[in-house]
Amino acid sequence: MKCRRCQQKALVDLKHHHTAFCKECFFEFVRRQVRRAIQEHRMMEQGERVLVCVSGGKDSLALWDLLCNLGYEAHGLHVDLGIEDYSRHSRQKVEGFAKQRGLTLRCVSLEELQIPIPLLARRSRRPECSVCGIVKRHFFNKLAVEGGYRVVATGHNLDDEAGRLLGNLLHWQWEYLLKQRPVLEAVGELLARKVQPLCRLTERETAAYAILRNIDYVIQECPMSRGATSLRYKEVLNLLEDRMPGTKASFYQGFLKEAAKLLEVWKGKQGPQPPPEGELSRCSLCGAASFGDPCNFCRLTSV
């Protein structure tokens, strides 16, 4: 296969775009997709200061690399989850990435705080992935607000969001469907804006980008995520994508276009009403933004 743009030997073929690219043209393709997502969804202003949540995996490190390349003042935040070798390995990758490029990184160690994920999951009898989500969201927002960052960026990609959409639809999770957007706006000084600049790129594309950019990322999966339903949804979508290239993108992009209409139905008298949500205020224990008091994080860590 030859590169569509320059006719050199292609290294990455993209079935759903009916095309293939050489290394440099693929980088340009990826940057264009990220720029488009940022502009289309008004994620942030050019050159804005942004806190990037980095796990050590391909997506978050590729995102950090891309945002720096696109001219954003991107600082990293890593939450060391305290999941034995996996977390040690992940932290090494993130620290190595930051050091090599001279980037600002902040690490929070759950082991040092005596709240590693396996312990919290055991104590609260909740699934590890659910506990992990609560803890990460807590620190991402807390440190963003404390550090004066208006924007928090995560490495969620097209596969993540299409898989999540499938799960939300299969179980008719209306309230989650309405919150599934690549941008969640800031709320006053309490909640930073959350953005997903990789939402137009597939997991395979971010992996290819990371490899071609020589980004040393963690290939091993989190041992806690084995058998997770989110992985099953992704598998199903990849089977469909294999037979009908473009399915994932049209599924998710179509949802984003139609979601506004869905919202109108929801809010109107014809549709089911969303559950009432409490007012956003500060948790009386930790001071973090929360719809309840104490916040989910404090409830979890004080079990």
Partner: protein
């Protein structure tokens, strides 16, 4: 024979060559969108032929939890 190494699991397998990347993945019941294939540090498109004596790496790309 083609030596196939899965970089995530560390498992190795041998297969008869020659075959294209597309054929190799089909025989391994793998979906193209969920992996990348490399040979000698270079990413391969699905039309590339892999010969006997070649060693390729399969890199699964699906992650999450």
């Amino acid at each position: 024979m083609i030596r196939v190494l899965n970089r995530q699991t560390g498992l190795e397998k041998e297969m008869d060559g020659p075959k294209t990347v597309h054929e190799l993945l089909r025989e391994m019941s793998m979906v193209e969108g969920s992996v990348l294939v490399m040979r000698s540090g270079e990413l391969l498109t699905r039309d590339i032929r892999i010969d006997d004596g070649d060693q390729v790496e399969i890199i699964p790309v699906i992650s999450g939890g």
